[in-house]
Protein backbone atom coordinates (compact mmCIF):
# COMPACT_ATOMS: atom_id res chain seq x y z
CA UNK A 1 0.00 0.00 0.00
CA UNK A 2 1.14 3.49 -0.72
CA UNK A 3 -0.22 6.97 -1.13
CA UNK A 4 -0.89 8.02 -4.71
CA UNK A 5 -1.01 11.77 -5.34
CA UNK A 6 -2.01 12.92 -8.78
CA UNK A 7 -3.51 15.93 -10.44
CA UNK A 8 -6.35 14.48 -12.49
CA UNK A 9 -8.18 16.80 -14.89
CA UNK A 10 -6.95 19.79 -12.91
CA UNK A 11 -8.09 18.40 -9.54
CA UNK A 12 -5.62 17.22 -6.90
CA UNK A 13 -6.36 13.71 -5.64
CA UNK A 14 -4.75 11.60 -2.97
CA UNK A 15 -5.70 8.00 -2.31
CA UNK A 16 -4.22 4.90 -0.76
CA UNK A 17 -3.74 2.08 -3.24
CA UNK A 18 -1.93 -1.23 -3.26
CA UNK A 19 1.37 -1.20 -5.18
CA UNK A 20 0.01 -3.42 -7.96
CA UNK A 21 -2.80 -0.96 -8.81
CA UNK A 22 -2.78 -0.11 -12.49
CA UNK A 23 -3.40 3.48 -13.50
CA UNK A 24 -6.53 2.34 -15.39
CA UNK A 25 -7.88 0.67 -12.23
CA UNK A 26 -6.99 3.70 -10.12
CA UNK A 27 -8.88 6.03 -12.47
CA UNK A 28 -11.93 3.80 -12.85
CA UNK A 29 -12.32 2.23 -9.43
CA UNK A 30 -10.70 4.67 -7.02
CA UNK A 31 -11.75 7.89 -8.75
CA UNK A 32 -14.87 6.59 -10.56
CA UNK A 33 -13.64 8.09 -13.83
CA UNK A 34 -15.10 5.34 -15.98
CA UNK A 35 -14.68 7.20 -19.26
CA UNK A 36 -11.30 5.51 -19.57
CA UNK A 37 -12.16 2.07 -20.95
CA UNK A 38 -10.39 -1.23 -20.50
CA UNK A 39 -10.61 -3.24 -23.70
CA UNK A 40 -7.95 -5.88 -24.18
CA UNK A 41 -6.07 -5.21 -20.93
CA UNK A 42 -2.89 -6.32 -22.73
CA UNK A 43 -1.78 -2.95 -24.16
CA UNK A 44 -2.91 -3.74 -27.69
CA UNK A 45 -6.20 -1.91 -28.18
CA UNK A 46 -5.63 1.61 -26.83
CA UNK A 47 -9.12 2.10 -25.31
CA UNK A 48 -7.41 3.09 -22.05
CA UNK A 49 -5.21 5.89 -23.43
CA UNK A 50 -4.88 8.93 -21.15
CA UNK A 51 -2.33 11.73 -20.99
CA UNK A 52 0.35 11.78 -18.31
CA UNK A 53 2.35 15.00 -18.12
CA UNK A 54 1.20 15.87 -21.62
CA UNK A 55 2.00 12.56 -23.35
CA UNK A 56 -0.38 9.75 -24.22
CA UNK A 57 0.07 6.39 -22.57
CA UNK A 58 -1.90 3.19 -22.15
CA UNK A 59 -3.16 3.35 -18.58
CA UNK A 60 -3.58 -0.44 -18.38
CA UNK A 61 0.19 -0.75 -18.73
CA UNK A 62 1.32 1.75 -16.13
CA UNK A 63 1.22 1.47 -12.37
CA UNK A 64 -0.50 4.22 -10.42
CA UNK A 65 2.68 4.20 -8.29
CA UNK A 66 5.01 4.83 -11.18
CA UNK A 67 3.16 7.92 -12.37
CA UNK A 68 2.86 9.25 -8.81
CA UNK A 69 3.05 13.05 -8.71
CA UNK A 70 2.05 13.44 -12.37
CA UNK A 71 -0.64 15.45 -14.12
CA UNK A 72 -3.18 13.14 -15.71
CA UNK A 73 -5.84 14.07 -18.26
CA UNK A 74 -8.64 11.63 -19.04
CA UNK A 75 -11.48 11.88 -21.55
CA UNK A 76 -13.56 13.55 -18.79
CA UNK A 77 -11.02 16.38 -18.66
CA UNK A 78 -11.34 17.48 -22.27
CA UNK A 79 -14.58 19.46 -22.11
CA UNK A 80 -14.67 23.10 -21.04
CA UNK A 81 -17.77 24.39 -19.22
CA UNK A 82 -19.94 21.63 -20.65
CA UNK A 83 -18.73 22.24 -24.20
CA UNK A 84 -17.13 19.36 -26.05
CA UNK A 85 -13.50 19.49 -27.10
CA UNK A 86 -13.06 20.10 -30.88
CA UNK A 87 -11.86 16.50 -31.26
CA UNK A 88 -14.99 15.13 -29.57
CA UNK A 89 -17.12 17.48 -31.68
CA UNK A 90 -15.43 16.26 -34.89
CA UNK A 91 -15.88 12.57 -33.97
CA UNK A 92 -19.59 13.27 -33.37
CA UNK A 93 -20.10 15.31 -36.52
CA UNK A 94 -18.27 12.93 -38.87
CA UNK A 95 -19.44 9.65 -37.31
CA UNK A 96 -15.97 8.70 -36.11
CA UNK A 97 -17.58 6.14 -33.82
CA UNK A 98 -20.23 3.47 -33.84
CA UNK A 99 -20.31 1.42 -30.63
CA UNK A 100 -18.09 4.00 -28.92
CA UNK A 101 -16.02 1.61 -26.86
CA UNK A 102 -12.66 2.57 -28.38
CA UNK A 103 -13.59 6.25 -28.63
CA UNK A 104 -12.13 7.62 -25.37
CA UNK A 105 -8.71 6.19 -26.21
CA UNK A 106 -8.99 7.15 -29.86
CA UNK A 107 -9.83 10.76 -28.93
CA UNK A 108 -7.06 11.04 -26.32
CA UNK A 109 -4.50 9.60 -28.70
CA UNK A 110 -5.62 11.92 -31.53
CA UNK A 111 -5.45 14.97 -29.23
CA UNK A 112 -1.86 14.03 -28.37
CA UNK A 113 -1.07 13.79 -32.10
CA UNK A 114 -2.35 17.30 -32.76
CA UNK A 115 -0.32 18.61 -29.81
CA UNK A 116 2.79 17.36 -31.61
CA UNK A 117 1.81 17.75 -35.24
CA UNK A 118 -0.71 20.48 -35.98
CA UNK A 119 -1.42 19.50 -39.58
CA UNK A 120 -0.92 15.75 -39.92
CA UNK A 121 -1.38 14.02 -43.28
CA UNK A 122 -3.69 11.00 -43.65
CA UNK A 123 -0.65 8.71 -43.43
CA UNK A 124 0.64 10.43 -40.30
CA UNK A 125 -2.79 10.10 -38.66
CA UNK A 126 -3.00 6.40 -39.54
CA UNK A 127 0.56 5.79 -38.33
CA UNK A 128 -0.10 7.57 -35.07
CA UNK A 129 -3.32 5.63 -34.40
CA UNK A 130 -1.42 2.36 -34.83
CA UNK A 131 -1.99 1.53 -31.17
CA UNK A 132 -5.73 2.21 -31.19
CA UNK A 133 -8.00 -0.52 -32.49
CA UNK A 134 -11.57 0.09 -33.67
CA UNK A 135 -13.69 -2.86 -34.79
CA UNK A 136 -16.64 -0.83 -36.08
CA UNK A 137 -15.77 2.14 -38.21
CA UNK A 138 -13.09 0.92 -40.60
CA UNK A 139 -11.12 3.98 -39.46
CA UNK A 140 -12.09 6.15 -42.46
CA UNK A 141 -14.32 8.49 -40.49
CA UNK A 142 -11.88 8.59 -37.59
CA UNK A 143 -9.17 9.89 -39.91
CA UNK A 144 -11.65 12.45 -41.33
CA UNK A 145 -12.57 13.52 -37.81
CA UNK A 146 -8.95 14.05 -36.79
CA UNK A 147 -8.38 16.14 -39.94
CA UNK A 148 -11.48 18.20 -39.20
CA UNK A 149 -10.37 18.74 -35.60
CA UNK A 150 -6.96 19.89 -36.85
CA UNK A 151 -8.67 22.84 -38.54
CA UNK A 152 -10.38 23.82 -35.25
CA UNK A 153 -7.56 23.41 -32.74
Amino acid sequence: MGKISLEVNGRKVEKEASDNTLLSTFLREHLQLTGTHIGCDTSQCGACVVHVDGNSLKSCTALAADVNGSKVTTIEGLETNGKMHPMQEAFKKLHGLQCGFCTPGMVMSAVDLLQKNKKPSDTEIRDWLEGNICRCTGYQNIVSAVKEAATKM
Binding site: D19, N20, S43, Q44, L63, D66, S109, D112, E130
Partner: protein, 261 residues
Protein backbone atom coordinates in the same frame (compact mmCIF):
# COMPACT_ATOMS: atom_id res chain seq x y z
CA UNK B 1 -1.72 -9.19 -11.13
CA UNK B 2 -0.17 -10.53 -7.93
CA UNK B 3 0.86 -7.93 -5.38
CA UNK B 4 4.44 -6.78 -4.96
CA UNK B 5 6.35 -4.01 -3.25
CA UNK B 6 7.04 -0.97 -5.39
CA UNK B 7 10.25 0.98 -4.76
CA UNK B 8 11.48 4.09 -6.53
CA UNK B 9 15.28 4.18 -6.43
CA UNK B 10 17.08 7.51 -6.36
CA UNK B 11 20.38 6.21 -7.73
CA UNK B 12 21.94 3.07 -9.21
CA UNK B 13 23.50 2.14 -5.89
CA UNK B 14 20.16 2.10 -4.11
CA UNK B 15 18.53 0.22 -7.02
CA UNK B 16 21.21 -2.44 -6.92
CA UNK B 17 21.01 -2.75 -3.14
CA UNK B 18 17.25 -3.33 -3.28
CA UNK B 19 17.63 -6.09 -5.90
CA UNK B 20 17.21 -9.74 -4.96
CA UNK B 21 16.59 -13.03 -6.76
CA UNK B 22 12.90 -12.17 -6.57
CA UNK B 23 12.94 -8.63 -7.94
CA UNK B 24 12.98 -6.80 -11.25
CA UNK B 25 14.00 -3.34 -12.32
CA UNK B 26 11.14 -1.32 -13.75
CA UNK B 27 11.81 1.28 -16.44
CA UNK B 28 9.04 1.87 -18.99
CA UNK B 29 7.34 -1.36 -17.97
CA UNK B 30 6.20 -2.08 -21.53
CA UNK B 31 7.13 -5.76 -21.19
CA UNK B 32 7.43 -6.19 -17.43
CA UNK B 33 3.90 -5.05 -16.61
CA UNK B 34 2.10 -7.11 -19.31
CA UNK B 35 4.21 -10.17 -18.35
CA UNK B 36 3.19 -9.77 -14.73
CA UNK B 37 -0.46 -9.21 -15.62
CA UNK B 38 -0.48 -12.40 -17.67
CA UNK B 39 1.15 -14.32 -14.81
CA UNK B 40 4.24 -15.07 -16.91
CA UNK B 41 6.39 -13.32 -14.32
CA UNK B 42 5.98 -12.63 -10.63
CA UNK B 43 8.23 -10.55 -8.42
CA UNK B 44 8.29 -9.68 -4.76
CA UNK B 45 9.82 -6.29 -5.45
CA UNK B 46 9.69 -3.93 -8.42
CA UNK B 47 12.45 -1.36 -8.36
CA UNK B 48 11.57 1.68 -10.45
CA UNK B 49 14.70 3.18 -12.00
CA UNK B 50 13.23 5.78 -14.30
CA UNK B 51 13.55 8.58 -11.75
CA UNK B 52 17.33 8.15 -11.63
CA UNK B 53 18.39 11.24 -13.57
CA UNK B 54 21.79 9.90 -14.52
CA UNK B 55 20.17 7.12 -16.55
CA UNK B 56 18.43 9.41 -19.05
CA UNK B 57 19.89 11.40 -21.89
CA UNK B 58 21.85 11.25 -25.12
CA UNK B 59 25.48 12.24 -25.64
CA UNK B 60 27.33 12.30 -28.94
CA UNK B 61 31.10 12.36 -28.92
CA UNK B 62 33.44 12.04 -31.91
CA UNK B 63 33.14 8.32 -32.45
CA UNK B 64 30.14 7.25 -30.43
CA UNK B 65 26.58 7.91 -29.37
CA UNK B 66 25.89 7.19 -25.71
CA UNK B 67 22.26 6.70 -24.71
CA UNK B 68 21.20 6.45 -21.07
CA UNK B 69 19.39 3.23 -20.19
CA UNK B 70 16.13 4.93 -19.15
CA UNK B 71 15.99 7.07 -22.31
CA UNK B 72 12.66 6.56 -24.04
CA UNK B 73 12.23 5.44 -27.64
CA UNK B 74 10.51 8.73 -28.49
CA UNK B 75 13.56 10.66 -27.29
CA UNK B 76 15.91 8.61 -29.48
CA UNK B 77 13.51 8.92 -32.44
CA UNK B 78 13.31 12.71 -32.10
CA UNK B 79 16.91 13.44 -31.15
CA UNK B 80 18.57 15.73 -33.70
CA UNK B 81 21.97 14.49 -32.53
CA UNK B 82 21.10 10.83 -33.12
CA UNK B 83 19.50 11.65 -36.47
CA UNK B 84 22.70 13.34 -37.54
CA UNK B 85 25.18 10.79 -36.16
CA UNK B 86 23.33 7.51 -36.82
CA UNK B 87 20.07 8.16 -38.74
CA UNK B 88 19.27 4.43 -38.87
CA UNK B 89 19.18 4.31 -35.08
CA UNK B 90 16.59 7.07 -34.77
CA UNK B 91 14.44 5.48 -37.46
CA UNK B 92 14.68 2.13 -35.64
CA UNK B 93 13.37 3.83 -32.47
CA UNK B 94 10.57 5.42 -34.47
CA UNK B 95 9.44 2.01 -35.68
CA UNK B 96 9.07 0.38 -32.26
CA UNK B 97 5.49 -0.49 -31.24
CA UNK B 98 3.11 2.46 -31.27
CA UNK B 99 3.36 6.07 -30.01
CA UNK B 100 2.24 5.11 -26.50
CA UNK B 101 4.89 2.39 -26.27
CA UNK B 102 7.51 4.82 -27.55
CA UNK B 103 6.43 7.36 -24.93
CA UNK B 104 7.26 4.89 -22.14
CA UNK B 105 9.54 2.12 -23.38
CA UNK B 106 13.29 2.48 -22.84
CA UNK B 107 16.42 1.26 -24.58
CA UNK B 108 17.78 -0.35 -21.41
CA UNK B 109 14.54 -2.21 -20.86
CA UNK B 110 14.52 -3.47 -24.42
CA UNK B 111 18.02 -4.92 -24.34
CA UNK B 112 17.75 -6.27 -20.78
CA UNK B 113 14.65 -8.18 -21.87
CA UNK B 114 16.35 -9.43 -25.06
CA UNK B 115 13.18 -10.48 -26.82
CA UNK B 116 14.18 -12.54 -29.88
CA UNK B 117 12.15 -10.17 -32.08
CA UNK B 118 13.06 -6.85 -30.45
CA UNK B 119 14.66 -4.09 -32.53
CA UNK B 120 17.36 -2.62 -30.29
CA UNK B 121 19.48 -5.78 -29.82
CA UNK B 122 20.21 -5.74 -33.57
CA UNK B 123 21.40 -2.13 -33.30
CA UNK B 124 23.75 -3.12 -30.47
CA UNK B 125 25.29 -5.93 -32.54
CA UNK B 126 25.50 -3.94 -35.79
CA UNK B 127 26.92 -0.81 -34.17
CA UNK B 128 29.55 -2.63 -32.03
CA UNK B 129 27.85 -1.35 -28.89
CA UNK B 130 29.27 -1.43 -25.40
CA UNK B 131 26.76 -1.93 -22.61
CA UNK B 132 27.72 0.11 -19.54
CA UNK B 133 26.41 -1.34 -16.29
CA UNK B 134 26.91 -0.21 -12.71
CA UNK B 135 29.66 -2.86 -12.47
CA UNK B 136 31.42 -3.15 -15.84
CA UNK B 137 31.38 -2.63 -19.57
CA UNK B 138 30.14 -5.50 -21.74
CA UNK B 139 30.59 -5.82 -25.48
CA UNK B 140 27.30 -6.40 -27.28
CA UNK B 141 28.67 -9.56 -28.88
CA UNK B 142 29.01 -11.03 -25.36
CA UNK B 143 25.85 -9.52 -23.91
CA UNK B 144 23.01 -11.32 -25.71
CA UNK B 145 23.19 -14.92 -24.51
CA UNK B 146 19.99 -16.52 -25.77
CA UNK B 147 16.23 -16.18 -25.75
CA UNK B 148 15.40 -13.56 -23.06
CA UNK B 149 18.87 -14.15 -21.63
CA UNK B 150 21.71 -11.67 -21.20
CA UNK B 151 25.07 -11.52 -19.46
CA UNK B 152 23.55 -9.38 -16.69
CA UNK B 153 24.00 -10.70 -13.16
CA UNK B 154 21.62 -10.32 -10.24
CA UNK B 155 21.36 -6.68 -9.24
CA UNK B 156 23.42 -5.53 -12.21
CA UNK B 157 21.85 -2.49 -13.80
CA UNK B 158 22.36 -1.18 -17.32
CA UNK B 159 23.29 2.49 -17.12
CA UNK B 160 23.95 3.34 -20.76
CA UNK B 161 24.53 1.94 -24.22
CA UNK B 162 27.44 3.23 -26.27
CA UNK B 163 27.11 2.84 -30.05
CA UNK B 164 30.00 3.18 -32.47
CA UNK B 165 29.13 5.65 -35.26
CA UNK B 166 29.43 3.70 -38.53
CA UNK B 167 30.37 5.00 -41.96
CA UNK B 168 26.91 4.05 -43.13
CA UNK B 169 24.07 1.88 -41.88
CA UNK B 170 20.45 0.94 -42.31
CA UNK B 171 17.87 -1.10 -40.41
CA UNK B 172 15.17 -2.83 -42.45
CA UNK B 173 12.35 -4.53 -40.59
CA UNK B 174 9.57 -6.73 -41.88
CA UNK B 175 7.16 -6.03 -39.03
CA UNK B 176 4.37 -8.21 -37.78
CA UNK B 177 1.40 -6.04 -38.84
CA UNK B 178 -0.27 -6.32 -35.43
CA UNK B 179 2.53 -6.04 -32.88
CA UNK B 180 5.18 -4.24 -34.98
CA UNK B 181 7.75 -6.67 -33.60
CA UNK B 182 10.16 -7.88 -36.27
CA UNK B 183 9.18 -11.04 -38.14
CA UNK B 184 12.68 -10.41 -39.42
CA UNK B 185 14.78 -7.28 -39.02
CA UNK B 186 18.26 -6.78 -40.44
CA UNK B 187 20.64 -4.04 -39.33
CA UNK B 188 23.55 -3.56 -41.70
CA UNK B 189 26.41 -1.31 -40.61
CA UNK B 190 29.61 -0.57 -42.50
CA UNK B 191 32.42 0.46 -40.21
CA UNK B 192 35.91 1.48 -41.22
CA UNK B 193 37.34 -2.00 -40.70
CA UNK B 194 34.35 -4.34 -40.69
CA UNK B 195 30.76 -4.90 -41.76
CA UNK B 196 28.08 -6.23 -39.43
CA UNK B 197 24.81 -7.82 -40.49
CA UNK B 198 22.74 -8.12 -37.31
CA UNK B 199 19.59 -10.19 -37.59
CA UNK B 200 16.64 -10.13 -35.21
CA UNK B 201 13.40 -12.12 -35.31
CA UNK B 202 14.86 -15.03 -37.26
CA UNK B 203 16.36 -17.17 -34.47
CA UNK B 204 15.98 -17.54 -30.71
CA UNK B 205 18.42 -14.66 -30.21
CA UNK B 206 19.86 -11.78 -32.22
CA UNK B 207 23.03 -12.72 -34.15
CA UNK B 208 25.61 -11.37 -36.57
CA UNK B 209 25.38 -13.18 -39.90
CA UNK B 210 29.06 -13.83 -40.59
CA UNK B 211 28.49 -15.22 -44.08
CA UNK B 212 26.74 -12.10 -45.33
CA UNK B 213 29.10 -9.83 -43.39
CA UNK B 214 32.08 -11.49 -45.10
CA UNK B 215 30.54 -11.13 -48.56
CA UNK B 216 29.75 -7.47 -47.92
CA UNK B 217 33.23 -6.79 -46.52
CA UNK B 218 34.64 -7.84 -49.88
CA UNK B 219 32.15 -5.86 -51.92
CA UNK B 220 29.61 -3.62 -50.19
CA UNK B 221 26.84 -4.10 -52.71
CA UNK B 222 23.52 -5.94 -52.48
CA UNK B 223 24.59 -7.99 -55.51
CA UNK B 224 27.22 -9.73 -53.37
CA UNK B 225 24.52 -11.33 -51.17
CA UNK B 226 21.87 -11.74 -53.84
CA UNK B 227 20.43 -15.25 -53.91
CA UNK B 228 22.39 -16.38 -50.85
CA UNK B 229 20.89 -19.58 -49.47
CA UNK B 230 20.93 -19.35 -45.67
CA UNK B 231 20.61 -22.38 -43.42
CA UNK B 232 17.09 -22.26 -41.93
CA UNK B 233 17.43 -25.31 -39.66
CA UNK B 234 17.62 -23.23 -36.44
CA UNK B 235 15.30 -20.45 -37.54
CA UNK B 236 11.95 -19.71 -35.89
CA UNK B 237 8.84 -21.17 -37.42
CA UNK B 238 5.40 -20.01 -36.29
CA UNK B 239 2.00 -18.93 -37.62
CA UNK B 240 3.52 -15.72 -38.95
CA UNK B 241 6.36 -17.20 -41.00
CA UNK B 242 8.01 -20.55 -41.64
CA UNK B 243 11.74 -21.00 -41.08
CA UNK B 244 12.35 -21.18 -44.84
CA UNK B 245 10.42 -17.94 -45.39
CA UNK B 246 12.39 -16.25 -42.62
CA UNK B 247 15.68 -17.38 -44.20
CA UNK B 248 14.59 -15.82 -47.46
CA UNK B 249 13.40 -12.65 -45.68
CA UNK B 250 16.78 -12.23 -43.97
CA UNK B 251 18.49 -11.98 -47.36
CA UNK B 252 15.77 -9.70 -48.77
CA UNK B 253 15.91 -7.34 -45.80
CA UNK B 254 19.72 -7.36 -45.82
CA UNK B 255 19.75 -6.41 -49.51
CA UNK B 256 17.25 -3.62 -48.84
CA UNK B 257 19.44 -2.39 -45.99
CA UNK B 258 22.60 -2.37 -48.14
CA UNK B 259 20.77 -0.51 -50.90
CA UNK B 260 19.45 2.04 -48.37
CA UNK B 261 22.91 2.69 -46.91
Amino acid sequence: MKDFNYHSAKDSKEASKLASSNSAFLAGGMTTIPSMKLGLATYKDLIDIKNIKKLSGIKVSGKSVIIGAATKHVEVANSKDVKKAIPSLSSLAEGIGDPQVRNRGTIGGSIANNDPSADYPSACIALNATIHTNERKIEASKFFKGMFETALKKGELIEAVEFQIPEKSSYQKHPNPASRYAVVGVYVAKHKSDVNVAVTGAKSCVYNDKEMAKALSGNFSSSSIDGMDLDSSDMNSDIHASAEYRASLVVTQAKKAVDAC
